[in-house]
Symmetry: C2
Subunit: 111 residues, 2 copies
């Protein structure tokens, strides 16, 4: 209901493939996780699983680091960006609420 449900966000890519797609070392990829910049899921056995969105994010992270930004700063940026995103979400819901109140829309069943 809230999203794409599409391929981009499904966590299905193992770290070796991510390495190949990004050119980063596994060490780097794991380190950025340790620094809380990226959040893979895990398989039952403990293997990391990433999404295409994660892959793109990793590339951005790597670029910033190359520009001398440290993980600590990157993390702050990300939190800021996400806060803004949350705010938008809230705003959207508020407006939706206003409309519902004005025009008496109901949350009808799916279709």
């Amino acid at each position: 209901m809230a999203n794409d449900s599409s391929y981009k966000d499904k966590k299905v890519i193992t770290i070796g493939i991510v390495r190949d797609l990004t050119g980063l070392s596994e060490r780097q990829i794991r380190y950025y996780e340790e620094r809380k910049l990226i959040f893979p899921e895990r398989s039952a056995g403990g293997s990391r699983k990433y999404s295409f969105a994660d892959v793109e994010l990793l590339v951005e992270i790597a670029n910033k680091i190359e520009d001398g930004v440290q993980t600590h700063e990157i993390r702050k940026e990300m939190l800021r960006a996400q806060k803004k995103q949350n705010q938008n979400e809230i705003t959207r819901k508020m407006i939706q609420g206003q409309l519902n109140a004005q025009f008496g829309l109901r949350k009808g069943p799916s279709s």
Copy 2:
């Protein structure tokens, strides 16, 4: 130039994940490959890599098999479907060619 370049066709999913996504056994997935219904890529070390498109195709295949269609038949269907697809592609190119001839468009450099 010819395609989406997007996530759907990138071969990045290992067989274990495909198993989880489709509910098929690894045996089945490998068998359908043996019957030439599906064509994963391979990692350097020999592990199979599938795309989301492959995953969807596998589900379709499994459905047909459940309906009693044999791999042999499914393969024929697929070849037929692909031939039609190729024909469309050819048609498209022919029309494009006609237009180019009519209006003298050049294949200029990329942008």
